[in-house]
Structure formats: C-alpha cells, structure tokens
C-alpha cells in the first residue's frame, strides 16, 4: 500500500513538474509575440524566471520519491523483465536513472544562471533545454516501464 501511494504521488508530482518545465521551455524557445492571445500563446507567454524555484523543488521531490521506489523496482519488477529478456525496458529505466542523477547535480547552477547571473542567455536556454528533455524522457520512460511491469 505505501508503495502504491508513493508511486501515485510520484506520478502526480511529475505532472506538476512537466507543466512547469514545459511552460519555461516554451517561453524561452518559442516566446509569445505581441497580439497573440490563443491558448498555446498564453502557455508560451509566461515569465520563465518565475518557474525556477518551483522546478527545483518539484525536481528534488520527484528524485527523492524515485529513489525511495527504486529498491522495489529492483527486487520486484526488474527480475521478471530479465527473465522475459525485455532488456529494452530495463534500458529505458537505466537511462532514466542516469540522466536524472546528472541533472540533479546541475540544479544549483540552473538556479544560479537563472536567478543571479543574467548575462549568459545561451547557458540559461541550454540548461532549460536539458531539464526539459530529461523530465519528459523520465516521465515517458517511467510510464512505459511501469506498464511493462508495475511495482505491485
């Protein structure tokens, strides 16, 4: 029961994180032009700097929840995947855990270049793009792995 609860919580927070990081990514790479007011334009027309702290907090929560759930995956989900030779599913998870760890270490710099050092626009954009790609990959990969073999 606690594992199910934590897994659902992991999923819910991933939606919040995806929303925040997608808003920021769109507003950096595809900003709203004057006069545009449709739904997509409004999603792009946010202040990207305003999302930084929320993204960091949500990412850390997601990472901690993932780290708590990981042993259950290792004991309950991965052995059957190995038995069935579904190595690509294991691979999806391996890539997810590795990218997630490296991006976690980038968060202090991400905060710094967004909040304290506005001179380097390219750096801010690159950090946002890496975070965006990682969060989306991790969510999709996690979903696919859970579909292949859940934690129950």
């Amino acid at each position: 029961m606690p594992i199910t609860f934590l897994l659902v919580l992991h999923g819910i927070f991933s939606v919040f994180l995806l929303g925040a990081v997608t808003h920021q990514f769109l507003s950096v790479f595809w900003p709203r032009k004057p006069g545009q007011s449709d739904f997509v334009a409004r999603a792009r027309g946010v202040n990207p700097g305003g999302y930084v702290q929320a993204i960091i907090i949500l990412y850390v929560i997601e990472f901690v929840l993932g780290a708590i759930l990981y042993p259950t995956y290792r004991v309950l989900a991965r052995p059957p995947l190995q038995d069935l030779q579904l190595t690509y599913v294991i691979g999806l998870f391996e890539v997810k855990e590795n990218f997630a760890a490296i991006v976690l270490a980038m968060l202090p710099s991400y905060w710094y270049f967004w909040k304290r050092y506005p001179d380097y626009k390219m750096t801010r954009a690159a950090l946002t793009a890496i975070l965006f790609a990682t969060v989306w990959y991790d969510m999709i990969a996690g979903h696919l792995v859970n579909n292949a073999r859940g934690l129950l």
Binding site: R78, V95, F99, Y112, Y117
Partner: protein, 119 residues
C-alpha cells in the same frame, strides 16, 4: 556568496557528471576500481561500503546510490578547487562547460547503454 557560486556550482555539476558517467559504465561485479562509495542490498535492507557483488543469499546489489555519493564527493572537490581559481578569467569557461560536459556525459552513457536496446 555569488562570486564563489559562479565557479563552485558549475564545477560541482561538471565533476559529478565526469565521474558518474564512467562510474556507471565501468562498474561490474569484478571491477578493479570501487566506483560506488557503497552498495545497497534491497532484499536484506543492508548497506555495505564500496563495491560489493550480489549473490543468491543477499540478493541483487544496487550501486546507484553509491555512484551518486561518490560523484557528489568528486563534485565537491571540484567545487572547492574551482572556488580558488580567478573569477573573471574562468567566467566563460563555466558558463559553457556547465551544459557541454553534462551533454557529453549523456552521450557517453547513451553509447554504453545502447546494448540494452540491441543497438
């Protein structure tokens, strides 16, 4: 604080990524170098220092936490060294390497992980 952070934060991430990618790639049950700081055995809920292989009695090993801990230590050392370097002279170096090095680490890891996908 900001002056130190401008070098220490990127150096931490760079050191972390530069250690983590080979640590994941080169760790095996018989590795000569102890890449993870510790090993966790989820079946028996036990932590052991260094690289420990699993077996039928203690179950599968988890090195991920140990890699993160080791990489964080390397990152910390890099951050301390970087904070001693001149700020102005290295400013552009940190601003570019903070995203180039992690991308290189992703590429390194992906090259290693292709085996899972039969590529």
């Amino acid at each position: 604080m900001d002056k130190i952070a401008s070098r220490a934060f990127p150096a931490f991430a760079i050191g972390f990524a530069a250690y983590y990618a080979p640590a994941y790639s080169f760790t095996g049950a018989t590795s000569a170098f102890t890449w993870p700081l510790f090993t966790y055995f989820p079946e028996i809920n036990e932590w052991r220092w260094g690289l420990v292989a699993g077996n039928d009695t203690i179950g599968p090993p988890m090195w991920w936490y140990g890699w993160i801990a080791s990489a964080a230590l390397v990152g910390l050392v890099c951050a301390i060294i970087a904070s001693l370097l001149p700020e102005r002279a290295t400013e552009k170096l940190w601003a570019s390497s903070i995203w180039i090095v992690p991308i290189a680490a992703f590429a390194f890891l992906w090259n290693w992980e292709r085996v899972w996908f039969g590529l």
